[in-house]
Symmetry: C2
Subunit: 413 residues, 2 copies
């Protein structure tokens, strides 16, 4: 448990500095143009117009649904389930980097880590290629576009996040080294690889990947849905699925805390992306309880630590809107909590994320705690220093919003 | 949210009154003797000795594992996974009603609701019979034994709990009426009938059963594992499964809160048995969040209520050892929290349950809150009045323990 925080009280919303560790990019149609070796130019995924004006990706002769088109930013909630099929029906900030930064500004958000859309959270698309050389070329082109073009266009505004070639742990390790050399400290992986027909998180199969991440200070980001699994139930209202999805990461955390992986790699780092934080006081108490009652026959051994302490060493959590989790922050660990915006998905409060997060910071939350949860933890965990590029006084909600007074926040822009 | 409680502070452990809404009975070998119609006498399940001295149940020619034999009360934790195969290796209080009451006394427990062992939590065994008339006869014999003999031997000490014939909703309704006429107000059901190859909890298929429960003030008790499903993971340490099992009921609660069942039966009552409570502040906040953000397109409508308020009307929760849940009780609803001992399973603190529960009641918990959580809520919810039979001053931890000073608490007794 962190020491009682000595920070002062009374921060204003305009003085917040917001770094979001989970947003989403809808890949623009021309994303492969500048990043493809000549050899593969004709085989890269292509965004094409279908007969009904719909946009789809085509890769190895297959049409791939453009799942990014479910972006709802700018749309009223009544329309969240409308059948969107083309770029011209979604907000430009979802796929256009210049408009994205303007949408961040109007929302007071300084920094953002963007998860992929059409390749799926851990690049499942590339792993399904018939020609694995092509798969690797496309994945590398994707990473280069993401790092150099998407994030690179606005230094200090993004935490780059790479995709791994999950079909080969040695290639994964090589990609970790390659992206780390470009200054990247985050890579996605699957919350449950068995659902993708790979060995489990526990398996030594992944050790080359884990080892490369540890050696290069790369955090493994496990996003809900990165197992291509969303809980669905026979004839249940869809609200059940929405309610349940964060529990994917409860399950992932339960697997990892008892896993030999943490023993083989004592400094490995996992971020549980879009999992929320309100369940963590229970989870952390539960793992200590299981340890105290059952270790005698399950033969777990955490030395002079408790599982909850170990969890705080290895896991980072993030919240969008967890009033209760913030209230219970001392049971979670204030140093382990980061914030996310989830732009442009339907759980996002964009363009009023500052208002949404501020309402959880009552008088008991000190400025120092607020700063940790809104940006300092994310900066430490992901080796991210926006202030090298942007003076602190231009990085606040108030300053960013002042720079974006011309941005229209309803509609597709 | 309940009003701020005005109760006084400073209750002593010996003054607690403990009613456990989740314990387990290991059915004794002679349980069918007094409760079987002559017609079926030869066909009832029989407990027999195998060649290696092991005890098994035989029914319709099949051997049924005696799962109750995993009872660990009295055994040291190092032996929790030992392969126990016969009655003479387990504590007598697990299957002998007289010794059971002595084990309750030495543990300071006044009242107990006992879930079944070999027929499984919702009588799955009886539903698998070839001859469904035989299945129904055995189920009714089981209920009669449980109500009249097990619970009936010690008036005021047990909350009787019936099993339903899940293969036929009309028979379920008839059994609800039959057991209600015997004064029973609790029946088990499955946390997820689809895993048992039946229609989901949402289905109108179950309406006759639901209707009978509502009309007869019978609470539907959903125990973890009552879907015959325990979460297991490829090559994961078993600790993962232990950590995850309460989440079965998170899933059940998520299904029920959005279910048309609550709309069809506005007074129906569910008890989530052995689910713990520490996850509820998050769950209740999550369902309100899902409602506020998504109801415009999922078309949920709770009128002038929030889902969290509705949940408190329909659901009862229970805890064994949830320090955090007790601290967060006002976020859960103090009137919805009951206590359980889980004797004789490995999560039970027997014979030191009073010490285990008392350590969660710090100075902020009022006597009135303690009394609600330890017994008053259970009495209200299950229409159970032990004080008709036992004076209040003889019902406390101190009084019960004083009556059991001769009970040996280690070993099989």
């Amino acid at each position: 448990m962190a020491e009682r925080d000595e920070g002062t009280l009374g921060m204003l919303m305009d003085d917040l500095i917001l770094v979001s560790v989970d947003d989403h990019v809808v890949e623009p149609p021309d994303m492969f143009k500048n990043h493809t070796p000549a050899k593969w130019r004709d085989q890269m995924p292509k965004s094409i117009k279908g007969p009904a004006g719909n946009d789809v990706w085509v890769f190895e002769g297959n049409q791939i649904p453009n799942i990014g088109l479910n972006a709802v930013a700018g749309r009223p909630p009544e329309d969240y389930n409308m059948d969107v099929t083309s770029y011209d029906q979604i907000r430009r900030g979802t796929y256009d980097i210049h408009q994205r930064v303007r949408d961040m500004n109007v929302n007071g958000v300084l920094g953002s880590m963007c998860f992929p859309s059409f390749p799926q959270f851990t690049g499942q698309l590339f792993s399904r290629t018939q020609d694995k050389e092509l798969g690797l070329a496309a994945l590398r082109a994707y990473n280069d576009w993401h790092i150099d073009e998407w994030c690179g266009s606005y230094p200090g505004r993004f935490i780059p996040l790479a995709l791994p070639p999950i079909w080969d742990p040695e290639l994964m390790a090589a990609e970790v080294r390659r992206i780390a050399a470009k200054g990247v400290h985050a890579i996605t992986f699957s919350e449950d690889p068995t659902r993708l027909k790979y060995p489990s998180l526990h398996s030594e199969h992944w050790d080359p990947f884990y080892k490369a991440c540890v050696e290069n200070n790369v955090v493994i980001c496990l996003h809900i849905g990165s197992s291509s699994y969303i809980p669905t139930y026979e004839d249940a209202p869809f609200d059940v699925t929405i309610t349940m999805t964060p529990m994917n990461l409860f399950e992932t955390a339960a697997n990892l805390i008892w896993s030999p992986v943490l023993k083989r790699f004592p400094t490995i780092q996992f971020a549980l992306s879009e999992g929320g934080i309100g369940w963590l006081p229970y989870f952390l108490e539960r793992i200590d309880y299981v340890y105290e009652r059952h270790r005698f026959w399950t033969h777990q051994d955490f030395g002079d630590e408790l599982p909850s302490q170990r969890a705080r060493k290895h896991f980072t959590f993030c919240f969008i809107d967890d009033k209760y989790g913030i209230e219970a922050r001392k049971h979670i660990g204030v140093d382990n909590i980061t914030w996310e915006c989830d732009y442009p998905h339907s759980d996002s409060a964009w363009p009023t994320a500052p208002e949404a997060v501020m309402k959880h910071f009552d008088d008991s939350v000190t400025d120092s705690e607020i700063n940790k949860m809104t940006h300092l933890n994310a900066m430490r965990i992901f080796n991210y220093d926006p202030f090298k590029h942007i003076p602190r006084d231009q990085a606040t909600v108030g300053a960013l919003r002042a720079s974006a007074s011309d941005v229209t926040t309803s509609g597709i822009y």
